[in-house]
Symmetry: C2
Subunit: 200 residues, 2 copies
């Protein structure tokens, strides 16, 4: 019996965490027998483009609506309706993994919801991989480390916690990167004003 396909998606105007969390949650779900596709609600920003180049990973299909592709979806890095698929009211949200407040969110049925008041959704996903004892591929670990660096400004933001630090150190090891040197380079790439071609 094949599971019915579900989409996994982060918020509109995606940042690195929104896209990467969709990829890593989709991978985790598929490892445990689900049939999911990660999608992104927009083009990568300059930082996110740098990250996907660095780890040689394909950017997900871009769409801001389900368009009948699935009956059920999973949300990452957001829950508020206005940040989600245009046609979110036409589908069932079965899973949410997030680190934001809950608002403008309501379901008709019980669901899986996992939120923690910490620096990054990818930190929660790292925890879930550990809890479920699923190995994180090196490239996905590199993406997840990048998302934590992005959301916590290299562990310096006020929302950053010791759990984000543990996750970043563990993921950097799996990815084989020096997170401090790489983090500086990545944050610089995101704010680099020289490359006019990618500016809107």
């Amino acid at each position: 019996m094949t599971e019915e396909k579900q989409l996994v998606v982060g918020h509109k105007n995606p940042d690195t965490d929104a896209v990467v969390a969709a990829i890593s949650y989709s991978y985790l779900q598929n490892q445990t027998g689900m049939n999911t596709e990660a999608v992104a609600q927009g083009e990568p920003n300059k930082e996110t483009k740098f990250v996907f180049n660095k780890f040689d990973y394909k950017y997900p299909r871009i769409t801001t609506a389900v368009n009948g592709d699935a009956k059920k979806v999973m949300l990452v890095d957001h829950n508020e309706k206005q940040q989600s698929f245009d046609d979110i009211d036409n589908v069932e949200v079965t899973h949410v993994v997030d680190h934001h407040r809950i608002a403008n969110f309501e379901t008709a049925l019980p669901l899986y919801y996992r939120a923690e008041p910490i620096g990054c959704t990818s930190t929660i996903l790292w925890e879930m991989y550990n809890e479920q004892d699923v190995e994180i591929p090196a490239k996905i670990a590199g993406l997840m480390a990048s998302a934590i660096i992005s959301d916590t400004l290299l562990l310096k933001s006020p929302t950053s916690t010791s759990k984000d630090e543990d996750a970043l150190k563990s993921l950097a090891k799996t990815a084989g990167i020096d997170y401090e040197a790489y983090g500086m380079e990545m944050l610089k790439a995101g704010t680099d004003l020289d490359d006019k071609s990618t500016q809107e």
Copy 2:
């Protein structure tokens, strides 16, 4: 530094899971350095009274409002505002552990939220004890097993899952009970029509 006291509470018109989940989550939180008090929003029903007698456990303080006793609260076995403290809007909800749909629930700040579409909140709490490697005292294990028996009608309700079964078997072992024999006795006590004194 002492943590500021928080209340942990289940829904109004409490069933066994609502009261027991408040007790077991409060215990888990306190084991990890928090300062919480479990309270119940009403008198025990006949089944719940049987359970607390059986495991010789003190029923929590009864209150349907925070009444200035805490600035922050944790909700179990519910999230909808109308099932919660009368003055829930005056406090911050920092944690929710639940197995119901999400509705009429909104926060100003990020929070810890853990929900799964399974038979019982106490099953999720059993999972959290395991994840955090905290030992469950035998009496609390007995209460938690009772909550699962109550919510899943001894694993026979349509909402019951294999995780509820795993949890019940594990908790029954810790509590030192034969869950099938005890479960029949407990469900019978809850529906016993002989004891007129506890009927409204």
